[in-house]
């Protein structure tokens, strides 16, 4: 079993070495990590058998909250920006969540989409406040009172992202195994029994929904800070679809899969957009079909199967 842990550990080390070993990949990887954190949010819901086509909503709310805060409080501290942004995502997650947790399946997916479309059109239409389609700038926050140059700031953001990936990934996995997390996942298999255990399925789903909003918000605010600008595109349905896609690509329900999926996705997208920019959605859609129909456990499933074959062989020898 050391194999199982050694490979992820090596991957983490490889990622951590990027700013020095391959600085040209640093920005790409940072965006991938931000997206990965958001994708874990979608993954959480998949564990309860639900899919949201609108979770870019929380991605965008956190990013805009950060932008508004920085505009009204120039030179706000990074920690404050992060906390306020995620708090914004959580708060809206509670409000929207109280409504959508009454629904499952199709309704759950589509109502989330509707909420994200509402927010998107507010961002586009009320341009006096939101800057419309151009979005608004998100100036670099200070770090413990210091205004940093671009280079060091980006380095800090990179390692902060790596730390958050590890921390939030670890937390989410522990939560999945906890009593509350297990109860949350039974929504997928039997809500009748859940009610007859004296548990409100709605409240159980809400707890996971708030976690997913917080994770998407964290991803969104990192993305906003790293890019220095937030646009309505953050809330656009394509962004939500992308998150669902990555979650399924990595391995539906797998936390590690979310990050692996995000890195693979960002890398391919960056290099493929040069010659496949026009058909990018099409490539994604085709891929999604192939995964669902032929490899429903995603990259992690393939990895597990390969590992099982390897270790199985090891034992027989």
């Amino acid at each position: 079993m050391t194999f199982r842990l050694a490979i992820p550990a090596l991957l983490v080390l490889a990622v951590a070495a990027i700013p020095f070993a391959a600085p040209q990949l640093q920005l790409l990887m940072n965006l991938a990590l931000a997206k990965g954190i958001a994708v874990v949010g979608v993954t959480v819901l998949l564990r309860a058998g639900q899919v949201s086509f609108g979770h870019a909503l929380y991605f965008a709310i956190a990013a805009y909250a950060a932008a508004f805060l920085s505009a009204s409080m120039p030179g706000a501290d990074l920690v404050l920006v992060l906390v306020v942004a995620v708090a914004g995502a959580v708060l809206s997650g509670i409000i929207v969540g109280l409504f959508v947790v009454r629904y499952r399946g199709i309704f759950f997916g589509m109502l989330n989409l509707a909420f994200s479309m509402i927010f998107w059109s507010i961002l586009e239409k009320f341009y006096h406040y939101t800057g419309g389609a151009d979005g608004i700038r998100l100036p670099r926050p200070t770090v413990f009172g210091m205004a940093l140059e671009r280079g060091p700031f980006e380095l800090i953001m990179f390692y902060l992202s790596v730390a958050l990936v590890l921390l939030l990934g670890w937390f989410t996995m522990r939560w999945f195994a906890s009593p509350a997390g297990q109860i949350f996942q039974t929504i997928k298999t039997n809500e009748t029994r859940l009610q007859y255990l004296g548990v409100s399925p709605q409240r159980a789903l809400l707890s996971g929904y708030i976690l997913s909003a917080a994770l998407c918000g964290t991803g969104g605010v990192i993305m906003g800070i790293v890019q220095g600008v937030v646009t309505p595109e953050f809330a656009w349905w394509i962004r939500s679809g992308e998150m669902v896609f990555i979650a399924v690509l990595g391995g539906a329900g797998s936390v590690a899969g979310a990050f692996v999926g995000a890195v693979i996705y960002e890398t391919i997208r960056t290099y493929a957009s040069a010659f496949a920019g026009d058909v990018w959605q099409m490539v994604l859609g085709g891929f999604l079909l192939v995964i669902i129909l032929f490899a429903p456990k995603g990259v992690i499933g393939i990895y597990d199967a390969a590992l099982a074959r390897l270790t199985g062989k090891g034992r027989s020898e």
């Binding site: 899919v51 509707a114 669902i292 129909l293």
Partner: protein, 301 residues
């Protein structure tokens, strides 16, 4: 708000509702029979619009009369149903009827992503505008307000025909009764010799053609551009969900409700126009989670 503006808003709302209904009715028909929400429905609507604009432009360039635009709308709708709807059901949906709902949603979502790019590849990103059908029918004056015959008379009339025709088709024709029987109980229907596969295929083709028809009818009234499919799927879902999934007559009512709500918002507070349909849906679902005309289903235990 004076009378002229009131009438304009009213007419806008009716015309818009007629369009939305023709799209939403296909969505709700497919759901009612197959229990699948086709997220790609919006793309089929967009393709119907593009196809009509292109075909009409082509025929007009050959020097034919603008009235030919009307049969071309039907042609486009049928093409969408047969060339896109058929293969989607036959190649993809057929594999996933027994899969969890989440996977079904993901599959139609994937088709949606693919078709969005197909449109861009075929028709580019420049808006299309092809209003000859609209112009061909001229204007009509009602209480001092000038309005196009196409939107004020033809569209609502078509929507009504669609509603009545579909009702008649489902209740009084053999194929319609086969579809209803399959909806009620798929296994029982198969046991008495109904080919459920064929029923599903036909239903999906009809539903897809209705989406295409909605696009075709919309094409003279709006500029056709990328992204219209995404807007339409969410909007027609709002209509269908507000009515209750699978409720055809209900969808007609909620289309009117949402269409009017939206058009009045345009004149009163334009920024909120896009929000009104969703607000209506959210309010209705808060009070009646199963929709205005849906009935709550209690699980048997």
């Amino acid at each position: 708000m004076n009378l002229t503006i009131f009438l304009l808003a009213l007419f806008d709302g009716i015309a818009y509702a007629a369009l939305v209904f023709s799209v939403a009715v296909g969505l709700t028909l497919i759901f009612g029979v197959m229990r699948i929400l086709n997220v790609a429905h919006g793309s089929l609507y967009a393709v119907g619009a593009y196809l009509t604009a292109t075909l009409t432009g082509y025929v007009l360039a050959l020097g034919f009369a603008p009235l030919l635009a009307f049969p071309l709308m039907i042609v486009s709708a049928v093409l969408v149903g047969v060339l896109l709807g058929g293969p989607i059901e036959w190649l993809l949906l057929r594999r996933i009827y027994n899969k969890p709902e989440v996977l079904q949603l993901l599959v139609t979502f994937a088709v949606f992503m693919i078709l969005e790019d197909v449109q861009r590849l075929v028709w580019g990103t420049q808006p299309y505008f092809q209003a000859s059908a609209l112009q061909a029918l001229g204007m009509v004056k009602v209480f001092g307000v000038n309005y196009t015959v196409y939107q004020l008379i033809l569209l609502p009339l078509l929507a009504l025909t669609l509603l009545v025709g579909l009702r008649f088709f489902l209740r009084h024709t053999i194929l319609g009764k086969l579809i209803l029987a399959t909806t009620e109980d798929r296994e029982a229907a198969q046991s008495i010799g109904i080919d459920a596969d064929k029923v599903f295929l036909v239903t999906f083709i009809v539903g897809a053609a209705l989406a295409g028809l909605g696009g075709a009818l919309a094409s003279p009234t709006t500029s056709i551009l990328p992204g219209m499919g995404a807007d339409m799927i969410v909007l027609s879902f709002a209509v269908v969900a507000t009515a209750g999934l699978g409720q055809i007559e209900g969808a007609a009512f909620t289309a009117l409700l949402i269409g009017l709500g939206r058009s009045f918002a345009v004149y009163v507070w334009p920024e909120t126009a896009v929000l009104v349909p969703y607000l209506i849906m959210l309010i209705v679902l808060l009070v009646r989670p199963e929709g205005l005309f849906g009935s709550p289903t209690a699980r048997k235990i």
